[in-house]
Symmetry: C2
Subunit: 411 residues, 2 copies
């Protein structure tokens, strides 16, 4: 491996978009066009679909000025795809690779994307076709193993934090119960970010329900009644993935018990659609309405804005997303690794700073990472230790300000 492998590089984007996924793409392009071993810098449209079909574009022809604008544009500039390639599909991809002498494969995405990179790495090795296969991490869910956190999370967390800051003010103005549903089917990281703008216990969200714990509807109603009794208002953060003791999504439990049809799609595995529908929020609001009677109850589902809002990305997240794209090229041409996933770890020291390292693909592929116990507070809260972890990732923000409500002097 002393002589670097010479050939073209291809990159694709996969899974749900983020606000900074194109920062990683641009970081990759910047580094790849500088690399002597890389003879062409190619992009595949819609990920593995484009690699199978040979639907490739020339990324080296883009100017640095234009790439800066692309980097600041949310969602996958090359198009994304949700597809786990079968053995035949991978064989088809490798045909494309051979035809174009593609020796470097990069794939930006989450754990499923890392698994695809792992499979491509294995099949090319079986075929004796010398390749370098690297996964570049991305997910607003922040649920990849090994890495300290995932590019894309900081910006989504910042949006969720800001949304709760503002909505808490809204709910103070008109009072009642407000429920906000946040993305995250299996892990509660993004929902937990709802607490990052709180100044004290009067600030919402007052209750936070995560998929790391079992959701008990009776306890939920008792919790809401207690907070509403205390403050005359209650702001609730709910992860879309809340579930019963058997792991069944609450929305499915509710639909079965109430005999109401589910609003959205179910996928081929029978999973109910949790994103792109307001069904869960509406179900919870109905539950509260039935229990607490004549008070104002509203529910919002933040939806795709969490991962695509262009005007509130975290500066730290932008920089780190760029960095992992660059680091993937450095690792691929460095000679030390045949394959791997780029991960982040915090440097020691008083101020926050991260560096990259390479971890084997199989340590990131397939399985995800829940929030650890020490970040949870009972069944309806988030521990302060989570703030230490997450605040550096969202960047600076303004605290909300109350009037002092000074008493009037008698006149």
């Amino acid at each position: 491996m002393s002589e670097p492998l010479k050939g073209a590089a291809v990159i694709g984007q996969s899974g749900g978009p983020t606000a900074v996924i194109n920062q990683s793409l641009v970081g990759f392009i910047e580094a790849a066009v500088q690399a002597e071993a890389i003879t062409q810098v190619l992009g595949a449209r819609h990920g593995v679909q484009g690699m199978m079909a040979g639907d490739l574009v020339d990324l080296a022809a883009e100017t640095p000025e234009h790439l800066e604008k692309v980097a600041r544009t949310p969602a996958a500039a090359l198009g994304s795809v949700r597809m786990k390639p079968e053995a035949d599909d991978v064989a088809q991809m490798i045909k494309t690779f051979k035809a174009k002498n593609i020796r470097y494969f990069f794939y930006i995405g989450g754990n499923d994307t890392a698994e695809t990179a792992h499979i491509v790495n294995q099949v090319s090795a079986q075929q004796g076709y010398d390749m370098r296969c690297f996964h570049i991490p991305k997910t607003i869910d922040n649920d990849l193993r090994v890495t300290d956190h995932c590019p894309g999370f900081g910006s989504a967390a910042r949006f969720v934090m800001h949304a709760f800051q503002g909505d808490d003010r809204d709910n103070r103005s008109l009072r009642g119960v407000k429920i906000n549903v946040v993305m995250g089917r299996h892990a509660g990281w993004l929902t937990a970010a709802s607490v990052l703008g709180r100044r004290n216990e009067t600030d919402g969200p007052h209750l936070v329900y995560l998929p790391e714990t079992v959701f008990n509807p009776e306890q939920f109603l008792a919790d809401v009644a207690a907070v509403h009794g205390k403050y005359g208002r209650c702001l609730v953060a709910v992860s879309e993935g809340i579930h019963d003791g058997s792991g069944k999504p609450f929305l499915q439990v509710y639909a079965e018990e109430s005999g109401s049809a589910l609003a959205g799609d179910t996928d081929s595995h029978g999973n109910v659609q949790l994103s792109g529908t307001g069904a869960l929020g509406d179900a919870l609001a109905n539950l509260v309405r039935g229990h607490l009677g004549d008070i104002r109850v509203r529910a919002d589902t933040f939806g795709y804005l969490q991962r695509s809002f262009p005007a509130d990305a975290s500066a730290v997240d932008r920089a780190e997303a760029r960095m992992v794209g660059q680091a993937a090229v450095a690792a691929a041409i460095g000679g030390e690794h045949q394959s791997g996933s780029i991960a982040l770890r915090r440097k020691g020291g008083s101020s926050y700073e991260c560096e990259t390292f390479v971890t084997p693909l199989e340590t990131v592929a397939k399985h995800t990472k829940d929030m650890p116990e020490n970040f949870l507070l009972g069944t309806n809260g988030v521990a302060d230790s989570f703030l230490d972890y997450a605040l550096p990732l969202v960047g600076e923000f303004e605290a909300m300000a109350d009037l002092h409500m000074y008493p009037t002097s008698s006149c």
Copy 2:
């Protein structure tokens, strides 16, 4: 009226909050503490409720530094209320005013708020109690008469524009049909703002449905099918107030025809709840799913974030909201007007600039203003003339950027 009336001033906030409603409050306080005729600067908690109960606070004791922070905090810092006071209620308010020698009444809000100011003005005159009554405009709906536009609209429009810019990128990445429901029961101004970030006809929203026209579900399905057939994707902006030819909300029509229960509340007039529920988006998504078959269909309802998101207010809107608060004090102590509503008009000249003027309360109270015909484009679009009107209100923003998708050279 040569001798200015001397006495205390009271201010309240009413109706749905905005991101800049506290700018108007702070503009009022800044001007009121300087005014010799005003002996005390009082705030009423939760609007007329606080005025009836004598629940007042001293606003002059706040420091300018702290008020700057309050001004940048969304939603009503004094608390809001949705209440049209009856004759008895107004009599109760005037009791409070007399007890505290309150001679200046200011009320920040929409058309219902202007009506309250109008009633207070009439009743105090009937009682021979000399008062000045002023309405300070505020509404994300932008539906007040007389004024060129409403403080609060620019910031909400900026949020909606950014949300559609980002969501269009998201929908390009994964394709299919995406429907976003925007606030606005009677007027389509805010939904129309969804188009402000479009660069060309391939950018979404591709279809915009406003309450100024009749919503025809069959035409809607045909429109969506045509756009999806052309681009493989379709982004739709829908106002929550879309309705049939008789004015009945589409959500109610859908619920009656499909026999499904409505998710949310109905108010005392039997109006269905349109905000704080995902029901309309889910109904439209189901309709498309049933019609177009096996494609990805998602719906989001932007909800209260549109009016309360703290990190994306329009700079122009912030400044104008501050200005109308200041202008209300100037008008009240100026001697020319006993009462009125502050309105905005554009100055002539090549660059955008607005000035304030006073319009009689009855010209703003009660009725609202729909979008004019020349801002509409058929039954599913927005005319370019709306861009000229609205772009100065949202302020500067970044255009989204595509990769050029250069073809690969053969190798």
